[in-house]
């Protein structure tokens, strides 16, 4: 029951955070030099034409009024229209989020499985051969920036060994989900980039837990096999779960390099373009959705950690 009210409070804070975020983002985009009028008009427009564009886009109204209109629309579930393309922001955002998730979800699942299994094994036998090999591999992966991993994958799979498509080209009327072969490379690039840090944190945490008197006590009490592994992992997991959720949250908006190089029309790429174009409603919409998803992921991480901790605490008291 306490957990439920705790979650309710957290959800309410998330909503408040998003409100603040939307204002900050609006204001920050507003003070940037230039506006969508300049972008849309191009260099050859006359002053009168510029003014017409300004009125057509509604940018002649004061910023606060525009923000008010945007918030009023938001309450009705309307994110407004893009200044540059005139399309519904909600439609764009949903499509971009879908593409980002299509790549991120497989990558996250891959990271959880790989990092979970390998991190536990390596941590339980810290110093062993597998631990040393994994340590070297993850070191290399952590040390390689996303754009290098992506470039290497492109050179390998597009030039030397063309078995997977290098660029995600989705036929009109279909979505990325329907094409696993297009998702493979970008998801692999994201997974390789994110796998290392999560695995190492879990490994370190598991190794530390194994070395504690608590673990020894468990062993002495005859807890063996899967039960022992469960006990250790439950105790060691919280920091790794945090690291994982934070990293996944970062990948959602930060996968821009991978999205660009593999032509995945995701959130990060769209956000870059929206800022370039000073497309305030689109920046707002994207930032809001990104923020909401990030907060949700972090919240999920917190809940999992809390549940894990309560379970171990109950175990400890039983």
């Amino acid at each position: 029951m306490r957990t439920v009210s705790w979650i309710a409070v957290r959800v309410a804070t998330c909503a408040a955070t998003l409100t603040v975020l939307s204002f900050v983002v609006f204001w920050a985009t507003e003070v940037l030099p230039g506006d969508a009028v300049g972008v849309v008009s191009g260099p050859d427009a006359t002053d009168a034409e510029r003014e017409a564009v300004r009125v057509a886009l509604g940018l002649d109204r004061p910023p606060l009024e525009r923000y008010g209109v945007w918030v009023a629309g938001l309450v009705r579930g309307d994110l407004g229209v893009s200044l540059v393309s005139g399309r519904e922001v909600a439609v764009i955002v949903v499509a971009r989020l879908g593409a980002s998730l299509a790549v991120l979800v497989p990558a996250a699942v891959g990271i959880v499985i790989l990092a979970g299994v390998l991190g536990t094994i390596a941590g339980m036998r810290a110093g062993g051969r597998l631990d040393r090999i994994l340590s070297g591999v993850t070191l290399g992966l952590i040390g390689t920036p996303d754009f290098l991993i992506a470039t290497v994958l492109l050179v390998v799979f597009a030039v030397w060994l063309p078995i997977l498509p290098a660029v995600a080209i989705v036929p009109a009327g279909q979505s990325l989900w329907q094409h696993p072969e297009l998702i493979a490379l970008p998801a692999l690039a994201l997974a390789l980039g994110g796998f290392g840090s999560t695995m190492r944190l879990l490994r370190a945490s598991v190794a530390q837990t194994v070395a504690t008197p608590f673990a020894e006590f468990a062993r002495l009490n005859g807890i063996r096999g899967p039960a022992y592994v469960r006990t250790i992992v439950a105790n060691a997991a919280p920091p790794a779960v945090h690291a994982f959720t934070v990293m996944i949250a970062g990948l959602l908006g930060g996968g821009i390099v991978v999205e660009t190089l593999f032509n995945v029309p995701g959130l990060g790429y769209e956000l870059t373009r929206a800022v370039e174009n000073r497309d305030v409603p689109l920046v707002q919409g994207l930032a809001l959705v990104l923020g909401a998803v990030v907060l949700t992921i972090l919240l999920a991480g917190d809940i999992i950690t809390r549940v894990l901790q309560q379970r171990t605490r109950r175990q400890e008291h039983s």
């Binding site: 030099p33 969508a36 008009s41 191009g42 510029r50 393309s85 660009t260």
Partner: protein, 499 residues
């Protein structure tokens, strides 16, 4: 979707039936030249801002697609006698006093809904940029003609009075006007159109599937279908071509072109003048020391243009002579090419008391090679003793803050291929402004050309624009793709695919 598939199928059958009839060159109107067929997959930068409403389409892909779906009224053709090639407008007459243009609409052109294309449609097409709040670059006709006073005396004639007498009205009308149906306000895949292709499927920022329009009035395309793919990143476009995911890519950088050129089974092509972008480095005459013509001259002489062409463009750019509109009929090719003369530049700066002056050049990645060219210009200026620095703005920022851009002392900009006279910005040199006025409105072609050349010579001597190169659009295709016309935007309607 289903009905267009059927229509596509019908087109295949019809094409097969005619296989033995048609020749390979310039088939007569209304008949197919069916060998080849197939689907061309072409990739452009595109992006999620893609729109079927080409009046509001900021990307090249929007116009490329619109040009395939909607037949042009007419097109620029510097080689033709009128300077234009006619489309659904059969000919354009100009009154002797240059104040009225009469457009004759071609017979037998129809929209995909069966309606015949009439003068009302043509007039609506001309007015549409204003009515539908098009982007400023679509306003060329609206700026120069009195569209409210235009009339359609019969179904095949449009009478168009000018705002002030002009001789270059044909070129303005033919710059990028496409025929749309009277009353069109929304652009959807099934909006009636009159071009060589129709839209079978469209997804913003993703891809468009075009199918051959069996009722197209002009030379029937050889292609069965075209898939226009949006790939915003240049490197990703190149990879898609290399891997055979697409047959043709447009808008790549010179360095990418260089590496593709040697690749097996791929060929690079570039647009030729006049279809090259003008990239002027503008010196603001309102700020010292650019108010001194000797300083402007010194800057122009300091630049090693050949090195820019070699190192930035790998020989693919055209040499500029600090004047716009290279390749258009009125371009004065008799003006001597400005050479690289750092010693004279240093002497002029000394003479103007500007030796050791400091200047900041503002540039941004808005055109392939723009920042790189700016880098070399800064180098060249430093070599003649100017304390020059480069300020690179993030993508999109250069023109986003237009008033700020205008006020900068030294900055780069670009203009798509366009005639010199109608696009001249008045206000700095009254003498040039008057000459341009004459060049646009004098009674005889000779007078107009003389005035234009005189204006260009004055600008060459004293002007504030330093234009070392003209930048082409660079494309690449796999072998077996022929017939791409590299105009202001690539025209894919006449592409022939062979394997």
């Amino acid at each position: 979707m289903v009905s267009s598939r059927k229509r596509g199928l019908a087109a295949i059958v019809a094409a097969a039936a005619m296989l033995t009839v048609a020749g390979c060159t310039a088939a007569p109107q209304g008949e197919s030249s069916p060998e080849g067929g197939g689907t061309l997959r072409a990739a452009f930068a595109g992006g999620s801002t893609e729109t079927l409403n080409y009046f509001q389409g900021p990307t090249a892909l929007d116009y490329v697609r619109a040009r395939l779906v909607h037949a042009p009224l007419c097109e620029l053709d510097p080689g033709a006698s009128d300077g234009v090639a006619y489309g659904v407008v059969e000919s354009i007459d100009v009154s002797d006093d240059l104040s009225e243009y009469t457009l004759h609409v071609r017979d037998g052109v129809s929209f995909t809904d069966g309606a015949a294309l009439t003068s009302a449609d043509v007039l609506y097409s001309l007015r549409a940029p204003v009515l539908l709040e098009g982007l400023p670059f679509t306003m060329l006709v609206a700026r120069n003609f009195d569209l409210d006073a235009a009339t359609t005396p019969d179904a095949s004639t449009v009478v168009l009075p000018t705002a002030a007498p002009i001789a270059d009205g044909r070129e303005l009308i033919c710059q990028s006007m496409l025929a749309i149906q009277d009353g069109t306000t929304e652009f959807a895949p099934d909006t009636p159109s009159s071009g060589p292709f129709t839209i079978a499927a469209f997804e913003q920022g993703q891809s468009t599937l075009l199918e051959r329009n069996p009722d197209y009035y002009g030379q029937a395309p050889s292609l069965e279908a075209i898939e226009l793919v949006s790939i915003p990143d240049g490197t990703a476009r190149v990879n898609a071509l290399r891997q055979g995911q697409v047959d043709y890519i447009s808008g790549i950088t010179p360095a990418q072109a260089q590496t593709l050129d040697g690749a097996d089974g791929l060929a690079v092509s570039t647009s030729e003048p006049p279809y090259v972008s003008y990239m002027p480095f503008t010196m603001n005459t309102a700020t010292a020391p650019f108010d001194d013509p000797r300083v402007r001259e010194a800057f122009k002489l300091a630049i090693d243009r050949q090195r820019i062409i070699d190192n930035v463009y790998y020989g693919l750019a055209s040499l500029g002579n600090d004047l716009p509109a290279l390749g258009f009929a009125s371009y004065d090719a008799s003006i001597p090419q400005r050479e690289h003369d750092p010693d004279e530049a240093r002497r002029l700066l000394e003479e103007a008391g500007a030796a050791g002056m400091s200047v900041e050049l503002t540039a941004g990645p808005e055109l392939p090679g723009m920042v790189e060219t700016a880098t070399l210009i800064v180098e060249d200026l430093q070599a003649v003793g100017v304390n020059a620095t480069l300020r690179e703005l993030p993508a999109g920022q250069l023109f986003a803050d237009y008033p700020a851009w205008l006020a900068l002392p030294f900055k780069v900009g670009y203009n798509p291929p366009a005639l010199f006279e109608p696009n001249h910005t008045p206000g700095t040199f009254p003498e040039v402004d008057a000459l341009v006025q004459t060049a646009r409105s004098a009674a005889t072609p000779e007078e107009r050309l003389t005035a234009s050349h005189e204006a260009q010579r004055l600008l060459w001597e004293e002007g504030y624009e330093l234009a070392p190169v003209f930048v082409p659009n660079i494309s690449a295709a796999r072998d077996g793709v022929t017939g791409v016309r590299e105009l202001q935007f690539p025209d894919l309607s006449q592409v022939v695919l062979t394997d």
